[in-house]
Amino acid sequence: MNLEQVLDQLRTQERFYKNITHWEVVSESSGRYEDFPEYLNPKLIKALNKKGIYRLYSHQRRALDEVMTGHDITVVTPTASGKSLCYNLPVLNTLLSDKDARAIYLFPTKALSQDQVSELMELVDDMDANIKTFTYDGDTPVNARVAIRKDGHIVVTNPDMLHTGILPHHTKWMKLFTNLKYIVIDEVHIYRGIFGSHTANVLRRLRRICNFYGSNPVFICCSATIANPGELSEKLTGKPAVLIDENGAPAGEKNIIFYNPPVVNRQLGIRRSSLLEAKALASKFLNNKIQTITFARSRLAVEVLLTYLQEDMKKLPGGTNLVRGYRGGYLPKERREIEKGLREGKILGVVSTNALELGIDIGNLDASIITGYPGSVASTWQQAGRAGRRNSVSASILVASSSPLDQFIINHPEYFFDATPEYGLINPDNLYILVSHIKCAAFELPFSDGETFGDQPINEILAFLEDEGILRHVGGRWHWMAESFPAEDISLRSASAENFVIIDITEGAKVIGEVDRSSAPMLIHEEAIYIHAGQQYQVEKLDYEEKKAYVRKVNVDYYTDANLAVEIKVLDMFREKTVANSQNYLGEVMVTSLATMFKKIKFFTHENLGFGPIHLPPEEMHTTAYWISIPENTGGLSIEEIKSGLLGLCNVMVNIAPLYLMCDPKDIRGVVQIKSPFTQKPTIFIYDNFPGGVGFAEKLYTMEDQLLKAARQVILECDCEDGCPSCVGPHEEVGHGSKDFALKIIKGVLSD
């Protein structure tokens, strides 16, 4: 059977069609083309011809024209639309005529940079030009580094390396910085949250160094589809950019299918495993020789799915080799081999984490199956985009898990297809992050009086750092005055460098993972059962000072659940407004959390098997929060009822907020106060789970009643009887009747 026939079967076989909640057909579109501009170097045209390219897509031409006139650009196009030419064309065209010109390419991961370098090298080889492209990252051998600094025309690297390896040693890179014409930032949508806020500051430092050497490079940014690509890239680079978001690449017909596994336990709201359903669908495609990529959310899920599918493939000629796994932790050589196999069609199926979501070249496949909502509209489109050829039909199937977010999306396809995708949010002025990078910047070059950092006046921060004994103010300049190397203590990927290390001492001592500081009291208190890669471990000792947890493998029939007492104190209110019958606020808070005790809960029956105390100091975090207060008498509910309803509503709001924020559900947290000392009323607080905040609360504040309305929809449409993890939460946690009370509260607030 070909793909069309398989799709027909899905439409007609009850086993499948009864689970399909939506079937969207995106009709094919023809491409919009433009000729090569006259100014384009003939060598470059020749090389493109050699690759079978005789004209450009309209967005490529526009990108080229804008950059060549000196404008910064942000290109937004879907997967496989010839995005890399948008930056390679202007860069190579400049380098062909100016031998001294230099460019930096930034990619969020190492794997991506390697892939891009090989593509770029091919083009350069075909031009027979002396343009040297080098990857500069942690793996670059020391003896190659000198040559890269002097002779590399295009230096391909990542923000982390720029942060610790290049900027603090800028004098060694004088040639690069003096002649820097372009900075290419691919996959801009990845730079959000903490990572994006850090990277924005690294780029502020980069621009400061360029300024010192007298260069003013043009930024070329590329992003997947998000709600605010222009805003995000401007915040990231600190410069306005021309937005190019009209895709000129042709595309074949595309079927996007939403699939919800059947309910197996209505009371508990439990559905059939999304993994097993995804496996059944993938098998169907693969058995019909349809090239298919299956995405799973965790490394473990990838391995499990892979095992199932390989078992199924045994009977086909080629056998288990037809389906391969792909994820972080595989060796680069193995990855290259799989990518090549996919491009050449020798590999029929691949099971991957989101590692293959980004621009790694694996050609275009016929079908993609997404096991579990990837967490954002943008990611889903990226993963769906892996299936789709220029001129034939393709299919993507999203298989929902039973998490609230998945259930919301699968039952509200209009959110996915019609509403704007999520916002990529960053907060470059997060005080903690900003101060960290001001230290790094002062190390790189002393600040002068009155100098700004990005657009931030920083005199007060400099004075503070002088007071701390880190800077010295003399002769109108602020000099670094410490022995330490500040960049080394600052990780771009986490809010603080303070993760707890988990050490397995079953045999010898082996580090198996890390837990961030704020989750540590909940997950790795002594006697906690910590689950890692499907294996249970018991925490034997938590060395709080050294940030180490020692665990041992166990096999028990229970898990542990810690009670966390969270207190929230408003430090400062920035904004306040009335929305319907509620009062909305944005401000700074101090969150104090204290793990008090833990329960041992038996698997399946959820019996309480006992409990124990937790002796850990309280954790304090200063961050930004959004809070909403309601009148005490809302819906005519009693205090107890209000409490139960608010707890449920808070759970739903926190769970679906990622629909708008492009963040992980654990990046924000909620707290309920029945009579808040600040508002004197029942109040829900939702705060950024990062010191200083990264902009989530701010976005929630601007959403008016959108979040409440979405919450209502989730609760109304959930099939459970009295609250389940897919809506307000289990009634053990929120109390009986929470579902009903929450709806009454929303009704009281919105009065519609």
């Binding site: 007060e460 503070f464 004994g469 000099h479 190397f485």
Partner: protein, 429 residues
């Protein structure tokens, strides 16, 4: 909440009580000259401080007289630098440079606050120390240093190629001044010392070399790692006393560079008759001589090292290979035999013997025997170390097979001719 309050509340790492540190500052500044011997120098970039010391060139530092450096011939300098071009390096036109910095990690935020420069002038050896008493005095000091360096065409440093000079170049760049370090020669004594003493000495740091080669004991010195904090404290409280040992440390480093150069020159000049060189050093010397094409000197040194603990094995191997390369086959063979007998890397020696018999002498009987013994040896080693030296076994088996093949071909031709003359000595204990 105001920004400054927030910063103090959430980001301060300072212990809260200690606040009045600034009050400690008394007016030490006037006495800086008395205590450190600094004088103020004016430049178009402002003022900076300088300490000038002059030693007679007959000054003895660590048992060695400074002016002996004039006796070092171009031939010897070549060997110290392990580079033929250095023949023309003239120590009268060279500056010895050493810096004290605010951090060892490097990077553009590290300042060289004290730059010591030593050079010969007339019949004295001068040490100038450019002191940057605060950040805003750096440009002036760099300017003066740059002027001084114009008079010289060579640099001598200890680890300067990877540390001091790149750091100073960065400082010039940040001050937007041209780097004065583009010199004909840059002799880095650390790499020279490492080549020569790495086998004998556990550490080739300057202080280790001083103790072991120059029998020098410093008095009133300060350990290097304490230097940055001393400087930072001075910036805060202006008390110059703790800086005294830093200036001393820097001066001693410069003087030691001179005498270390002389000491190494002696080793190369009279390798067999000097106090600068002993035991394991002979292997190292041999390597330098060999690399520089001085075969006879090299062989002499290797012979000295043949029985020295620690380098015995590599000296045997190295010397035998040198003989082989020179076509001095008999000496090579004798050495390999001796190695087998004394159980010094016998598998290496046996393989070399097998190659020699097979390819040079075309004596396949002896070649086969040697290869066979090598193989047995590897098997024995296997049982000792407990893991399998698979590659070596495969390699040896291949060799043995090939030899046997040749052996068969020529069997008819020469049977009894070349039996193994020293068979008995070739068994393995």
């Amino acid at each position: 909440m105001k920004l400054s309050e927030k910063l103090r509340a959430f980001l301060s790492t300072k212990p809260k009580e200690k606040k009045d540190e600034k009050n400690l500052t008394t007016n030490f500044h006037k006495s800086l000259g008395d205590i450190l011997g600094t004088i103020e120098i004016s430049t178009p970039f402002g003022e900076h401080l300088l300490v000038e010391r002059s030693y007679p060139d007959s000054h003895i530092h660590g048992n060695v007289q400074l002016n002996l450096i004039y006796n070092i011939s171009g031939e010897i300098i070549k060997l110290i630098a392990k580079c033929p071009d250095y023949e023309d390096l003239d120590f009268r036109r060279a500056v010895f440079i050493d810096t004290e910095t605010t951090g060892l990690a490097g990077g553009s935020g590290t300042l060289a606050f004290l730059i010591g420069v030593g050079f010969f002038e007339g019949d004295s050896f001068k040490v100038l120390q450019y002191f940057i008493s605060d950040y805003d005095k750096e440009a002036a000091a760099l300017y003066s240093l740059s002027n001084l360096l114009k008079k010289f065409d060579s640099l001598v440093t200890f680890n300067g190629k990877s540390y001091d000079i790149p750091l100073l170049e960065a400082r010039y760049m940040i001050s937007r001044m041209e780097s004065p370090f583009n010199k004909t020669f840059h002799l880095d004594l650390l790499s020279a010392a490492r080549r020569l003493y790495k086998e004998r000495l556990e550490s080739v740091s300057l202080s280790s070399l001083e103790q072991n080669l120059l029998s020098l004991k410093r008095e009133g010195d300060i350990p290097s790692y304490e230097i940055p904090s001393v400087y930072f404290r001075f910036l805060r409280d202006s008390n110059p006393y703790p800086l005294k040992p830093v200036f001393y440390h820097n001066r001693m480093d410069i003087l030691s560079m001179v005498t270390l150069t002389i000491s190494m020159a002696n080793a190369f000049k009279e390798p067999l008759d000097t106090t600068s060189c002993k035991n394991q050093d002979y292997y190292c010397l041999g390597r330098v001589f060999e690399d520089m094409g001085m075969v006879e000197e090299s062989i002499e040194c290797y012979k000295r090292a043949l029985q020295v603990q620690g380098v015995r094995e590599k000296t045997h191997a190295q010397l035998s290979l040198l003989y082989k390369r020179l076509g001095r086959w008999q000496e090579a063979e004798r050495l390999w035999m001796a190695m087998v007998e004394a159980n010094i890397r016998p598998d290496f020696a046996l393989v070399e013997l097998a190659k020699y018999y097979e390819h040079r002498l075309k004596d396949y009987n002896r070649a086969a025997k040697a290869a066979q013994m090598a193989l047995e040896n590897v098997y024995k080693k296997n049982s000792l170390v407990g893991y399998t030296l698979k590659d070596e076994i495969v390699e040896l088996k291949k060799r043995l097979e090939r030899i046997k093949c040749k052996q068969k071909k020529y069997e008819t031709r020469s049977l009894e001719d070349h039996c193994f003359p020293r068979q008995e000595s070739l068994h393995i204990n």
